[in-house]
């Protein structure tokens, strides 16, 4: 990543992702749905979300499965606000997720200790190491074995998902980790898993374990 791209992330007044964060912060206080509740109605001011994003994905006992932060937001919408879910990559969903995660900026990624989450991490690790697609590459082949080398003009990163949702110059907008993972799968000519698929959640869970202790830097900027 070039210094100019790093500079965009470091300065909130230049970081284009802050436009999404600002939208998310407004949504936090906006009453929605049949219950006419806002996020703040239950959770208080958004500052109280500090450290929450460092713990996702996590096992949800009500859902009896591991979910990521955007799924938790949608769960709140359905069960608390009584309004329909936002579809994957919806601007508002990305904005709210970015605003919540920004409250944990600088805090170490800290997956909770839960047996169900550990199972998801194990499945995710297997997927990470599994060669896929016509190009026959695993995540590990690029992001561990070849990390630091170059692909085209870009340095291959180690694949630590520390800044999501990110503003990607390639997208010219903000997107989720699942969008990024699906992009990688398409790039190796594999059929990407659908948004919200349990395989993607498992991969997210493993990536969080792999990046545990690293500081969350949402909203990130990447080439």
């Amino acid at each position: 990543m070039q210094p100019s791209t790093q500079a965009l992330q470091k300065d909130d007044t230049q970081n284009p992702a802050m436009l999404w964060v600002k939208a998310g912060e407004a949504l936090w206080n906006k009453p929605e749905g049949a219950a006419a509740k806002s996020c703040a109605s239950c959770h208080g001011e958004i500052g109280r979300m500090k450290s929450v994003a460092t713990r996702y994905p996590a096992y949800s006992s009500t859902q009896a499965k591991v979910i990521n932060l955007s799924q938790q937001v949608n769960l709140c919408r359905v069960t608390q606000q009584q309004v329909s879910q936002w579809p994957a990559e919806h601007e508002s969903l990305l904005g709210l997720e970015a605003a919540i995660a920004k409250e944990s900026r600088g805090l170490p990624i800290s997956p909770p200790t839960q047996s169900q989450l550990a199972d998801a991490q194990t499945r995710g690790e297997a997927l990470f190491n599994q060669r896929i697609g016509q190009v026959d590459l695993s995540c590990r082949d690029c992001h561990e074995t070849l990390a630091g080398r170059k692909l085209g003009g870009n340095v291959i990163p180690q694949g630590h998902a520390t800044g999501y949702p990110i503003y990607r110059l390639e997208w010219q907008s903000v997107g989720s980790l699942q969008r990024r993972l699906r992009g990688c799968m398409t790039a190796v000519r594999a059929e990407p898993y659908a948004h919200g698929a349990s395989e993607l959640i498992d991969l997210e869970a493993y990536l969080a374990k792999r990046a545990a202790g690293m500081k969350l830097e949402t909203p990130g900027v990447r080439p």
């Binding site: 990543m1 070039q2 210094p3 100019s4 791209t5 500079a7 965009l8 284009p16 692909l151 085209g152 003009g153 870009n154 291959i156 110059l169 390639e170 997208w171 010219q172 992009g183 990688c184 398409t186 790039a187 080439p223």
Partner: protein
């Protein structure tokens, strides 16, 4: 060649590359024609303008640029306009900026798109009508992980 003399001569080679003065690049004819048209008969000279842009670009979708012009920005003497042209995008126009002595500083920063490796020029028009330029060359690398 003895190892010692080889090392000495190769060290000299490196030094000579580093100290070589940076020559002004030869402006592409496309840019020259655009600047001439913009100047509309005014004298165009190289200098007074500093076009700050990375020489090597990660992704051409968003390239930070900053243009500063050597001017006191007084009511008597100031920059009235800064214009950016590119050589090889589908359109040569990038942006035109209007400034006045109220600006206090002859400076603008923005982010631009570059379709490919090419030259760019920043032209500053002074209130006396004269035009000053800085031409730069930018290498846009092929982005590896594109979507679609």
């Amino acid at each position: 060649m003895k190892r010692r003399s080889f090392l000495a001569s190769s060290a000299g080679l490196v030094a000579s590359v580093i100290v070589r003065p940076v020559a002004a690049i030869e402006q592409s004819t496309v840019l020259t024609a655009l600047v001439k048209e913009y100047a509309a008969g005014a004298v165009v000279r190289e200098g007074r303008v500093k076009f700050d842009i990375a020489r090597l670009v990660d992704n051409g979708n968003s390239v930070p640029v900053e243009v500063t012009v050597d001017s006191p920005m007084t009511p008597q003497q100031h920059v009235v306009g800064i214009t950016l042209f590119n050589e090889k995008n589908p359109q040569n126009d990038v942006a035109q900026f209007s400034l006045s002595h109220l600006s206090g500083r002859a400076r603008v920063a923005t982010r631009i798109r570059l379709a490919t490796t090419q030259q760019l020029v920043a032209v500053a028009k002074m209130n006396d009508g004269s035009c000053w330029t800085h031409t730069v060359e930018v290498l846009v690398t092929v982005s590896s992980c594109i979507e679609e």
